[in-house]
């Protein structure tokens, strides 16, 4: 696929469980995410979700949820935001909030970056997606907020493509890791570094006083 004068060659990428897409800044990770979502049309190839070919579907109709790289702040109170999209997709926002443990957010004014991202994560789950694409959802967050979001992500059981430039995050979350380098995708490799990542994050948390 090509965009902004860059091309990304994917070959085949299959996402079950949690797959981390690891790559440096500018490697083309967001181009890949946007084309999977249908915002960019791939030059060649097809996109399947749960066996269904969605290549010709517009983003609004794809059974995929997407959390973009830049944090989105909708002009709604947390409860109103959740109610709006729960109504639209016929889902139960209280169940999602309970699942992610976000009850405390509901009455808050002025959410932190991490809280905003958790609210948006809950929102995208209301679509009842067959797959999730999260484009560097923690890249703008401090460690405490990052830890909060990563913990919430661990509790999600929807197939997830987690895009990141951070190998520790990838190792902490992923079942499999693919690497995008020089416009080419390599992998997947099974993640055997979760224990190491947990240890690194635990120690960092102790240093920063975040648990």
């Amino acid at each position: 696929m090509k965009a902004y004068g860059r091309s990304v060659s994917v070959g085949e990428l299959s996402v079950k469980g949690t797959t981390a897409l690891l790559g440096r800044n500018g490697a083309g990770k967001t181009i890949l995410a946007r084309s999977l979502m249908g915002f960019i049309r791939p030059a060649r190839g097809r996109v399947y979700v749960g066996g269904e070919d969605v290549t010709d579907l517009p983003p609004e109709e794809r059974p995929i949820s997407y959390l973009p790289q830049t944090q989105v702040a909708l002009p709604l109170r947390p409860v109103s935001q959740l109610e709006l999209f729960a109504r639209r997709h016929g889902s139960d926002w209280r169940w999602v909030v309970g699942r992610l443990g976000l009850e405390g957010l509901l009455r808050k004014e002025g959410l932190s970056g991490g809280e905003r991202q958790l609210l948006n994560l809950a929102t995208v789950l209301l679509k009842r997606p067959k797959a999730l694409i999260l484009d560097e959802p923690t890249s703008h967050l401090d460690f405490a907020n990052k830890a909060m979001v990563l913990e919430a992500l661990m509790s999600i059981d929807v197939p997830m493509l987690f895009i990141t430039h951070d190998p520790i995050e990838a190792a902490y979350l992923a079942d499999e890791i693919v690497v995008l380098r020089d416009g080419k995708l390599t992998g997947p490799v099974k993640n055997g570094m979760r224990g190491w990542a947990e240890e690194v994050l635990r120690e960092a948390g102790e240093v920063l006083g975040v648990h």
Binding site: M37, P68, T70, V72, L74, P75, T123
Partner: protein, 232 residues
């Protein structure tokens, strides 16, 4: 206050003084009864114009955001760079052909044409500042066209108010197109122009100062309000 800020203050005061001090030192303000008539006409027709220009600006701003449609934006904004007498001349065949010369409709039409670029530019900038991720998030959540636009408007309501006020003032201050299309009903720009030609600067200094001070007061309130709303 650092040097740059002091310079800004100095330039601003000089700018304002140039417009007010020599006028006040040279002439004694006086007011003609027709000034009030012109003021009311202009305010009413500027309100009509704003009620058309702002919704039009919203639609055009939203519609020209995606990449392939950006090239349409200059088609809306080019009128800013053209003398408005020329805009009046370009509108003249349609207005005169429809028998609308010197009517309230002609005034409103001229105001709409010259003020729509204002609402369009302010709102387009506000929509663009939300970023493509904002739209993509909503679209991925199944929202389309009007739903996305409505959410963007709620997110940019401060800009919407600013756009409305600026559009109203742009309509209110129009002269060039009105000189070609409609001297009547009397509007403030035409009033000042006609009185100046008839009797010189002195008799319209008062009216001109009132217009300038009202506009200044509203601009200050708007600046302060938009700053507060933006959390600055």
């Amino acid at each position: 206050m650092d040097r740059v800020q002091a310079l800004c203050l100095g330039v601003s005061l000089a700018y304002f003084s140039l417009l007010t001090v020599p006028a006040l030192l040279t002439y004694r303000p006086e007011f003609e009864p027709t000034f009030l008539e012109a003021l009311v006409n202009t305010a009413l027709l500027a309100t009509v114009s704003t009620s058309v220009s702002v919704p039009l600006g919203v639609v055009l701003a939203y519609g020209t955001l995606p990449a392939p449609w950006r090239l349409i934006a200059p088609v809306v904004t080019f009128t800013v760079s053209v003398p408005h007498t020329a805009i009046g001349v370009l509108l003249a065949p349609a207005v005169f052909g429809a028998g609308l010369a010197d009517t309230a409709t002609a005034v409103a039409l001229a105001m709409i044409v010259v003020s729509t670029p204002m609402s369009f530019s302010v709102l387009r900038g506000a929509f663009a500042s939300l970023g493509s991720c904002y739209v993509e998030f909503l679209r991925a959540m199944g929202m389309r066209g009007l739903g996305v636009a409505a959410m963007m408007l709620r997110s940019t309501r401060t800009a919407l108010v600013s756009a409305s006020v600026l559009t109203w003032f742009r309509s209110f201050s129009e002269l060039g197109a009105l000189l070609i299309l409609a001297h009547r009903p009397l509007t403030v720009g035409v009033y000042v122009y006609e009185e100046f030609l008839r009797r010189g600067a002195g008799p319209v200094i008062g009216a001109s100062l009132v217009l300038a001070l009202v506009a200044l007061a509203v601009a200050i309130v708007l600046e302060r309000w938009s700053g507060d709303a933006g959390g600055r």
